[in-house]
């Protein structure tokens, strides 16, 4: 039992899973496009956290995981910029960023 109290890989994986679940929940339920984008960021960060913690606990001598995390942060930043630019353009066109109204692809 005492094992559970010391922070280890298990604890960090739980944190990461929670973070990912919150991200998916937000992704599926937020109506505001900016909120959806933020949820995507949460999911991405849970993935980055996974990389770091698995590197830390299972391959301590290496830095591959940390580098991947840095990549993810960079990609996330770029993605946020593109996403926000799309939303701004969309808002100019439709005066709204409500994703429920973006259903022009329905059959």
């Amino acid at each position: 039992m005492s094992n559970l109290l010391v922070p280890g890989a298990f604890h960090w994986l739980v944190v990461s899973s929670l973070l990912f679940s919150i991200g998916v929940y937000g992704l599926l339920t937020r109506r505001n496009a900016v909120g959806v984008l933020m949820s995507v960021e949460l999911s991405l960060n849970s993935a980055a956290l996974n990389f770091v913690l698995l590197n830390r606990f299972f391959a301590p001598g290496k830095v591959d995981g940390a580098i991947m995390a840095l990549f993810i942060v960079t990609v996330a930043a770029a993605e946020a910029v593109v996403g926000m630019a799309i939303f701004v353009a969309l808002y100019r066109q439709r005066k709204s960023v409500d994703v429920n109204r973006m259903n022009m692809m329905s059959g």
Binding site: L28, N103, S106
Partner: protein, 664 residues
Amino acid sequence: MTGSVDLSFVLANAWLIPAIPFFSFLLVGLFIRPFSERLSGFIATGAVAVSAILAGILAWDYVSFFGRASDGYPAFVSWSAEWLRYQEGLVVNVGTLIDPISVMLLVVVTLVSTMVHLYSIGYMHGERGYGRYFAFLNFFTFSMLGLVLAPNILQMYVFWELVGASSFFLIGFYFERPSAVAASKKAFIVTRFADLGFLLGVLILAYFGQHFFTEVSAGAAEQPFDFLYLTRPEVLGKLASVGSGFFGVGLLTFAMVLVYMGAAGKSAMFPLHIWLPDAMEGPTPVSALIHAATMVVAGVYLVARMFPVFAATSGGLNVVAYVGAFTCLFAAVIGCVQDDIKRVLAFSTLSQLGYMMLALGIASLENPAGYTASMFHLFTHAFFKALLFLAAGAMIHAVHDNEIWKMGGLAKKMPFTHATFLIGALALAGIWPFAGFFSKDEILAAALHGGRYGIFAIGVVAAGLTAFYMSRIYLIAFWGNARTDKASHAHEAPLVMLVPLFVLALLSIVGGFIPLDKIVNISSVGVQQHGHAGIDFMVAIPSTVIALLGILAAWGLYAKQSDTASMLADGFSGLYMTVKRKFYIDEVYLFVTRKIIFPYIAQPIAWFDRHVVDGGVNLSGWSARICGFGLSFLQTGQVQTYGVWLAGGAAGIGILVVTMLLWS
């Protein structure tokens, strides 16, 4: 047999004989016909003439090469190539089988075909579809030669269907005429129906032939479908011991009766004879070539080809003999009262085919005289019947009518046609020294010496009837006064039509003296036979007497334009009408198809097809459409809805994988 000796060029390349008409068919049909109708006639005739010359050389080589050998004339495959490979030990070759009967028929087919081609240049002059006609004639010649040379039963079946198809095209040559269309359809359907039996017989034979193939360990050159394999005594022994199939009938007998059904359809044996008289709707040279001399003898040829197999069955040959004998008499009776000259000749053909069949049926491996006689009769009949049809064509050409009662007095106006027709008629009637006398007497002698007195009696009566109906049409058409304007203005046919008549007339005179029985005997398929020599007066005297009686009866009735004949017809009007309407066989067929098969078999099948089969197909289409319609509601265009399905699906798969990992 073939490997050790050097064959002559033509023997080794016998495939050239059917190949030349085939390429001529392609050339004429595709390239020449659109440009010059006239040229297509010459090219087609030339091609067949080349084939005839090659066939003549082949026959000469065959006879001179093997004539010195003491063990008779051999049967061998001179050329072959692999055609179909189903599996190891089940290969079908295409090739050329050389044996006495195939060499004989090669000569007959190419010779008669050349004569008919030549004659057609004059007869069909100015007709619409002249080029098409010659292309099809070439195609027919190719198919028939392929059939004759077939070394295995499958190649024979394929060419069998090809001759059926070309017969269909040529009967329906005048396709603007509804009667010609109906006749061609009738011929095709009846023979196709018979070929169903042939195919089933082939399948049964092939199944068991293949079954025993490894046990018998035949020579490497032979394959299960080959005639040479099927007629080997040890294979026959095994086939005969297969045991009973249906209703206690041995399986081999059953298979051969089915094969005989195909032969009977092609050779128009009763009750499948109904298509042949109607086939006279085609141009007359076509009737001469296809429906008298060559294609209709394919059935006889098939039975002769498979003769040892028929002989190995119990009772198979009796079926052949009795059906042949019945057809022989039946058709001769009908022939006596028909008024259309081509129909009389058609019924005469039926009757003579019956002769050939009954001769095969009474032969056996121990006493094969009937086999030789049948082939001899096939040989002579091809010449004199083709001659009669071509002469009839010249008369029809002059009078523009088929009806004998519209002719009359043609002897003076068409002297050459008259002379050749008379030769043909005497040959058919069996008067010495014409060809028919010898071959018919051989058949009757075989029946008499085989102890088949009933069949002998039928043959003699039919011979008398033959003499009667030939004299009847001869007297009505050539003697007396012209009955119509056109008959009185008739004039002799052009030279191009007369030359074939002269050639065939010559062959009808000398054909009987050709010593065919020295070459064609069953020794080529295993057993030596004692040669039949000279004229058998036991047979020749009664058959000649009855033929003369038939001629005298016709003379008495028709020589003077009296009304004795019509008075006789009125006196026996019921009988006369029955015979004239061909014993109502066509009506029986119509009744059976229209009143029984259509309402009680075809209609329920059509209903089943329309409602159950089509219904099933429609149901599957309908259910697919409904499913698609329902699923289309899932596509909302909402990315988040799709996301829910995606996440849910991924979670579901994850749970599934984890559960399975835990369980296993």
